[in-house]
Amino acid sequence: MKQKKILVGILVLAAVLASSVVAFAQSEGASITIGISVEPISLDPAGGLYIPEQFLIQQIFDPLIAADPELNLHPALATSWEVNDEGTEFTFTLRDDVTFHDGTKFTAEAVKVSFDRAAQGTTPAAAAPAILSDYIETEVVDDTTAIVKFATPHATFLQDLSRPWLFISSPAAIEEYGEDYGQNPIGSGPFILTEWAAQDHITVAKNPDYNWGPEFYTHTGPAVLDEITFRFLPEAATRLAAFQSGEAAIVQDPSYLETSQLATDPSVQVFTFAAPGMTSHQMINVEKAPTDDINVRKALIYAVDQETISQIAFYGLQPAAHNVISPTTWAFNQEANDLYRYDPEKAAALLEESGWVDSNGDGIREKDGVNLHIEYPALPAYEEAFMELLASYLQNAGFEVNITKLDDAGISEFGAANKHNILNMGWISRDPSVLSYVYDSANIDGGNQSSYTRFRSDRLDEILETAPQTIDEEARKALYEEAQAIIMENAIALPIHSYGSVYLADASVAGFRFDSEGFPYLYEISLAAE
């Protein structure tokens, strides 16, 4: 009997708990839900690194200078700017009609506080400190004038200002929230953070006072939408279901197969964007056999058909790449891009020239009794879609390929121990200057230890070190074109694909337009009457 009472007790308790769920009233109006794949970690511009942070920070904060989709710079919080001849001092004249979401006024002091924090970074993973290397200080001349000073020339600083890591925070809010500022971000952007339910959603509401958008926006004044809810939907299948059932009007990164099928549906809008920066490519190790031989390295590149990989692995939504830099990047070098195309016969000839032949008929080439072996540590998070396909192209050319699946930390260790022949790299960025992080030989054993090609060239190092400080745009462009040529001619990069952003939007979404890094301008989006 007692057991029965317990059972009844459990059931009653359960019923009470279940009915305590708060009823949720769906608000009508100009609000939309966007399904995003990863929840941001922190919305502090000085603490963020990854794409989910970037998308949200752009809605809540404003830059000093904004870049339009073609990367032309326009006044935002700064109305004008001057650079000294050395490229070390940047003087900004600021708007005086801007207020932050907490009601405090935007002044030069906010620029100083924001940059001082960004130079330090507020999380270990923050992207800002690398951008602000050699930052000395921001001098507040008066409320509307600030001078940012560096110890070395910063040719890309004006462009960098338009990236979210250098957006401007409210000093009062930083003071108020302290360590929790990343969860309570206060900027002056078109949207105000109203709710962040961890692992569930972020809601932002229109900033009714917003009247200081850059001139290239399609309208002025506040945003069109009243409210945007960002739902965190990590599973691609769930994101797609949320889109198909109408729970989300826009979804980010849907699975490629479904996207290719939906593309023919007139009620679905598919938006794709090829990101600038480094392509997703395999860095080829020149210090480990057999890839220490340039013929073997060239054969690796000739053996792979990127167009087919792009079609099979990504349904064409991540475009094939043939250069270390993607075609949408400033200073892209077309000649370096045209050096290699899929040619299995050329690959075979190069391998035979170096003495690699399949003498025992097992499909693997060998020389002096040693197999033509490639160690390939792979990160499934990035490479799952194509790694087996890539390996099979290499096997067809007579390579023996060993794939070791690892996580980020495992890959870094594997690479640092010099055990790899090829290792995937990629970096979305507006500027080719990111090449320095992984192609400057100072980063082989020292620096960030991410130069996994272990390739040493005095000329390449010189370019990568001087270009970021070269103020003359034409000269800088020539330097980066040369860098791409050196990398491709020495066959130390096996390009696979460019990164593409893919968004699905339902028919009601109007005014969808990508910024220069492949995020939609949510400020411009409106809902068409259905």
Binding site: A14, A18, T123, A197, A198, A237, S412, G447, Q449
Partner: protein, 308 residues
Amino acid sequence: MWQYLGRRLLTSLSVLIGVSIFTFLMLHFVPGDPVHALLGRQAVSPERLEEIRQELGFNDPIPVQYLNYITDVLQGDLGRSLKNNRPVLDSILEQFPSTLQLTVAALIISSLFGIIIGSLNAAVHNTWLDKVLSVLTISGISIPSFFFGLLLILFFSVRLNWLPATAKSNDPKGLILPAITLAVGEACWLARLVRSSILEEMNKSYQWTARAKGASERTIMVHHVIRNSLIPIVTAISLQFVYLMAGSVVVESIFARQGIGRLAVTAIQNRDFPLVQGTVSFIAVIYVLINTITDLIYAVVDPRVRLK
């Protein structure tokens, strides 16, 4: 009784200490540097890496790290997340109600369906319907929840548009599909248990005595067979609570629900040590708590248990 209670609590405590040590060691013996995992693919100098390691205390010997951790925990401080710097306890307390709702809803569904289907199945023993129900319940146990959940989404959200696939956590409609997904395996398992438990009781000889005394078949079934077969079933249901909580890890991910299971998975992927340690320990506490309560109830109900 008090002696039993003391003994039982002591065992629970040692289980919790064991879990915390085991989790701690597992985290530290997984290959790969946690600082690298923390930074992702970001380019950072070895000096900076060393600095971060020092800040986070990863350079201390592991026993020292563990003792530091336990000292903080005993003072109610579970630390802060390495990723977003939020207090671990805040994250757990914020996410737990959602998991509790899901688990309790699934427990109700699985208990109701398990007992009803199981009794029905026993009642039609050795008929074609018995075979049909057996096949269905065994299929229900075998179907993976990630697959079943997607089927439900495709049918009820995408095709029929009746129920949301990814409702916000405060929308009660959003509880229905996840709860069914979570419950189906346990419901079917319970149905099998109820069936065999009832059949076993039906074959016991006390029924013949009852019949000889003139009791109707209905009286025998309701007053004797079902009542007696409930004993193992109640035990099973209390255990199910814990299984369901473990199962919520997968279901929360499919339906993008808030919850402690998803919190733990994300923390493991990020190698967010304090958060992993905190969530695993929290789930262990719940597990031990429920087991202890169940045992104590037994002890009250059945004096033989105390004497063992």
